[in-house]
Amino acid sequence: MKFNNVIKTLLIPFLLVLVWWIGSYLKLWNDYVLPSPNRVFAVFITMIKSGELIEHVLSSLSRVMIGFTIAFLFAFAIGVYAGLSPKKTIYYNLIVEFMRHVPPLSLVPLLILWFGIGEKSKIIIIVLAAFFPMFLNIKKGIAFCNLKLLEVGDTLGFSKLKKFYKIVLPYALPDILVGMRIGFGYSWRAIIGAEMIAAASGLGYLILDAQQMSRSDKIIVGIFTIGLVGVLCDRLVAILINKLLHGGVKDSWS
């Protein structure tokens, strides 16, 4: 059964690689833009052996983790506040909505002006990418809390805070988790944008540098590594969360 699942999981990826291999073999597309799997694999192995790849992965991971954590803390705080006090949103809604629609890439010169070319600017790009889906999902989860269950808290004399962590929070958990997953995906995706700002390492840097150097084999290695590490992290967090939440809460985290 387990082996069976591995096969099912890898079926489509395997077919895609096969098509890629055959296409390259038959020269169906330009080798300059999409090199053959063999060449990409060779570069991949070289980069692993030299330790270059792992260095890029760690460097990006640490950036993304910091950015994601900050984004989550903000999203949680503001999302909870917005969910619990919907009337106050009018004060900051415009600014939040505005920022939600502005491409972080367009802000790079301003970020450099204010926050320099160090880690700060890069992390802000990641935060901007990850904040909003978490914010909106958390807000929705909190705001939609079942009123009937909340009243139970009222009749048990719960304080606002107690009602929050004993009823609202568990109830909103599936929404929060979905938001976190989406947010993590976006923070991971943002490394290209973040590492545009004067990075010297990281997977985004790897890809940008390879683009500038017209090294499409390295670009593909970069893309694969980003995708795979992203999936892996997602899985890891999923397992962790499933361990933490003992039963009762379905999470659609499949």
Partner: protein, 305 residues
């Protein structure tokens, strides 16, 4: 695409064949690509290709790598203004790309600015932070400038940033020096920042026109027409200075004075000279020495034959 026969105008030329349904070219107006601006404004390409009933399409692909990728994908027929550096990079990585003429040489338009009045010579850059776009003419300029003081890139801290970001980094004091070109350079200069050096004497700053060997082999007549149009544009520019300055100023939204001042930095002559080939060889060597390409490229091989 179809194989078309040129409608014969009665002259008894041998039939010329071509294999294209449109002429897609890149349109790059920065740093100050007056020929492109004038040509598009006046529709010179279209005039020349009307004879073949081929529509001319413009694509705003500004970065070198994107241009060479689009050429490789077959979506573009001509790269109207692409850095020689990008062509060499692409060729080194196995792309079918060939230079058909020169676009410009403008070493004076590429500049290195210092933030700090303490920095006056190349030697002063030691240990400093310098921002600029990697693997470009500007990068080459920096290395060549450092070399004049016996320094290499290792002696400074090079920070890879695009031109707008380099400018921001410079004015916010994040870096000690920045490599700039085009309007950014003009603005920074006007703001009183010190120009450490321009590219003059250091790099040739060659911008070229490129297509692929495959396209050339199948459409010799179209490439010739293209060159004819390019020549026509350059001639027109020579004869109508005031008008072209006016058009350029409107298109780039720069002031007339700025255009006039910057225009002097560019040398728009399409013939490929030996000096150009020497310059590109130097660039190739620079790329190889700095491990930006793994395979040598013979410059004479990437000129159209």
């Amino acid at each position: 695409s179809t194989k078309n026969e040129i409608p014969s105008n009665g002259t008894s030329e041998e039939a010329k064949f071509y294999n294209a349904s449109k002429i897609a070219v890149t349109y790059v107006k920065s740093p100050l690509n007056v020929p492109s601006i004038i040509e598009k404004n006046k529709g010179f390409f279209q005039q020349h290709f009307d004879e073949y009933n081929l529509p001319v399409e413009y694509s705003n692909l500004t970065t070198g790598p994107e241009q060479t990728q689009a050429l490789a994908s077959g979506d573009l027929q001509f790269l109207n203004a692409v850095g020689a550096t990008s062509v060499i990079l692409a060729a080194s990585n196995g792309s079918d790309i060939k230079i058909i003429s020169m676009y410009s040489r403008s070493p004076k338009a590429f500049m290195l600015f210092a933030n700090d009045s303490q920095i006056k010579t190349a030697a002063d850059l030691k240990g400093k932070k310098v921002a600029g776009p990697k693997g470009t003419i500007l990068h080459e300029l920096l290395i060549a400038y450092l070399k004049t003081a016996g320094l290499t890139e290792k002696d400074i801290e090079f920070i890879s940033l695009g031109i707008p970001d380099s400018q921001a980094a410079l004015v916010s004091g994040e870096v000690d020096a920045a490599l700039l070109a085009g309007p950014a350079a003009y603005n920074i200069k006007k703001a009183g920042n010190m120009v450490l050096t321009t590219g003059e004497g250091l790099v040739d700053a060659t911008i070229v026109v490129a297509t692929s060997q495959k396209f050339y082999d199948e459409n010799k007549v179209l490439v010739d027409t293209y060159l004819k149009a390019q020549k026509f544009t350059l001639d027109y520019m020579r004869k109508n200075y005031d008008e072209i300055v006016q058009i350029t100023a409107e298109e780039t939204e720069l002031s007339i004075d700025a255009v006039k001042e910057m225009y002097t930095m560019y040398d728009f002559i399409m013939e490929i000279t030996d000096k150009d080939i020497e310059g590109m060889k130097k660039t190739e060597q620079f790329l190889f020495d700095n491990k930006m390409i793994d395979n040598h490229v013979d410059i004479t091989d990437i000129l159209i034959k």
